[in-house]
């Protein structure tokens, strides 16, 4: 099992907002390391002058006209909220 020197799993898990147990950190590091080692073969490919595929088929100018439509009733909007106060979603205090 390998681990590329530059996968800082603490840092990446923090960026991804997932708390990992020490066991998960070790296990995932190794498993992801294997995948990254496999992926490394992409470096073999000569991609000079090749455009990245942004979208499978080239389509442009997709938009909608600025006409307001009714949205969700507030009850539907908040139906799945874990916690609410009146008509707002409640969370622990957010400190700037």
């Amino acid at each position: 099992m390998s681990q590329p020197a530059d996968l800082d799993i603490d840092h990446v898990a923090r960026l991804a907002r997932i708390a990992l147990t020490p066991d998960e950190k070790a296990r995932f590091s190794a498993q992801i390391g294997d995948v990254l080692a496999y992926i490394a073969q992409l470096k073999e490919v000569d991609v000079t002058g090749v455009e990245p595929t942004a979208h499978a088929f080239p389509v442009q100018n997709v938009w909608a006209e600025d006409v307001a439509q009714p949205g969700l009733p507030v009850e539907d909007a908040l139906r799945n909220a874990p916690e609410r106060q009146d008509n707002r979603v409640a969370v622990p205090k957010v400190v700037e």
């Binding site: 907002r17 992926i39 595929t53 499978a56 088929f57 909220a81 874990p82």
Partner: protein, 492 residues
């Protein structure tokens, strides 16, 4: 089997059932009751469903019968039970992605696929199991239950749409919708001996599909026959103003075109798909199928897709990068699992996501976050998107010479539960034949083409030109017409 010797209602294809409904030989309520009965009989062995609401389904069936009685039947899907992978939003129904993160989530809106099914009069039937957030190839990553392969319950049905494939194979749904990002319709279709179609990227709206990899995901049908797949595709395909990636294609009556197009065609066999790792029995069945096409007058040509071996690598950079961003919204704030262990707002994110996501989802989010993180974007994501261009070019080059490409769908038949679960990379390599099709945005279909000695289904994959589903379905039909694999059912 019922008393008259014809297959039980729940085993019949939608095309035939539409005829029976139209002729008033059966009612939709009867059909729905037969499907519910079958589900209740086999579900504890198959575990295809996360949930189903029999009362609601029967109410939909009654509504269909009333429409028909009033002369307002809407077409071949009116009154037909369609199972839905639990990633497709149906208003008022659970939408869980087989994840603890969404275990209690009820969708307040209908996705476009649901809207179109309802417009067609179809019955939205149940919530079908999947690998959590569509990440997996065996449905073993579901947080709720492990679906069994109806042909051998010690084996997996494939994934991620394992529940959808199993339900159609076992008669718990007449047809079903799944989603395919790297093979998640085609591979389980192959392992469960049914038809599974991934449309061209952009043909079917993604509005209402829980996003995994935005540039790769497509909704598509599971069915027993190619005609059924054509019927369902016809109902859900077409431009959607709510999906900016949805293509303005010409409307097609896929079912009508099916019998009109008879070939013969030029079929390409990519050398890269028949090498190491392919199970010999699967290889033999696919060779036999190719032989059949030759017999009916098709020209068989070798083609080369030289960048095939980079497909899995490119996929796991692009798909994980996109999913790391798509799954950021699952944080327990507005909906979803909120951790009770959280001490403050920051903790709320870390703990809710730690508790809500399973290990495979976490792995992919972390890998995706890593490849997008500062300093790595060019080396990974940008590079993979360029390799993707080359993969697509390979296919389009081949399509200058041939009308469709023929390959195995999966390197092996269904494997045992637990056999590959411990090694993520080994699991990823299951998708080796299907993944390139998603990267290139092409349509692909898997149809049954035989069984192994152990009586496990084998799937044949056909890959078509962009937006040429009509042509692709016709090529598939040409094989199916002369074979009766779909007359066999698992013994349950």
């Amino acid at each position: 089997m019922n008393g008259t010797g014809s297959p039980a209602l729940f085993h019949q294809p939608a095309g035939a059932l539409a005829g029976l409904l139209e002729a008033r030989r059966i009612s939709s309520v009867e059909l729905m009751q037969a499907v519910i009965g079958r589900t209740r009989a086999v579900e504890e062995r198959i575990h295809a469903f996360n949930s189903f609401d029999a009362d609601d389904a029967l109410a939909q069936a009654r509504a269909s019968d009333e429409r028909r009685a009033a002369g307002r039947a809407r077409g071949p899907l009116d009154g037909i039970p369609v199972g839905l992978k639990d990633v497709i939003a149906v208003k008022g129904q659970p939408l869980t992605a087989s994840s603890r993160m969404l275990a209690n989530f009820v969708s307040p809106y209908d996705g476009t696929a649901a809207v179109r099914l309802k417009e067609a009069g179809a019955i939205c039937w149940g919530r079908l199991n999947l690998d959590e957030f569509a990440m997996g190839s065996s449905t073993e990553n579901s947080a709720f239950k492990t679906t069994r392969n109806p042909w051998d319950q010690t084996r997996v049905p494939g994934g991620s749409s394992g529940g959808s494939a199993a339900a159609v194979a076992s008669g718990e749904a007449i047809v079903a919708l799944g989603s395919d990002t790297g093979g998640s319709i085609r591979q389980p279709a192959a392992l469960c001996g049914v038809v599974g179609l991934k449309p061209t990227y952009g043909l079917v709206s993604r509005y209402g599909l829980i996003a995994f990899a935005s540039s790769l995901d497509q909704i598509g049908p599971f069915a027993r026959t190619v005609e059924d797949a054509a019927i369902v595709l016809g109902a859900i395909a077409g431009h959607d103003p709510l999906d900016s990636t949805s293509f303005r294609s010409e409307p097609h009556d896929y079912r009508a075109e099916l019998e009109k197009r008879r070939g013969p065609w030029k079929l390409g066999i990519p050398r890269e798909y028949f090498g190491e790792g392919l199970d010999p029995e699967v290889g033999a069945a696919v060779e036999a199928a190719i032989g059949h096409y030759r017999k009916i007058g098709c020209e068989i040509r070798p083609v080369s897709l030289p960048h095939t071996k980079y497909a899995v690598g490119a996929y796991y950079i692009i798909a994980t990068a996109e999913c790391s961003s798509n799954l950021a919204r699952y944080d327990g704030v507005r909906y979803g699992h909120r951790s009770e262990a959280a001490t403050d707002i920051v903790d709320l994110y870390f703990q809710s996501r730690a508790e809500g996501f399973g290990p495979e989802v976490k792995r992919r989010i972390i890998l995706g976050t890593y490849v997008l993180s500062s300093g790595y974007y060019d080396a990974y994501y940008l590079c993979a998107q360029k390799v993707r261009t080359l993969i697509r070019r390979d296919f389009l080059e081949a399509f200058r010479e041939v009308d469709a490409i023929v390959t195995p769908t999966s390197p092996t038949a269904a494997f045992k539960r637990g056999e590959k679960a411990a090694d993520p990379l080994a699991m990823y390599l299951n998708d080796i034949y299907t993944i390139g099709v998603n990267l290139a945005g092409l349509p692909g279909i898997s149809i049954p083409c035989g069984f192994t000695k152990e009586k496990l289904p084998i799937g044949l994959q056909l890959i078509g030109r962009p937006f040429d589903e009509a042509g692709l379905l016709a090529v598939a039909r040409a094989y199916e017409r002369d074979h009766d694999w779909n007359a066999r059912h698992p013994e349950l």
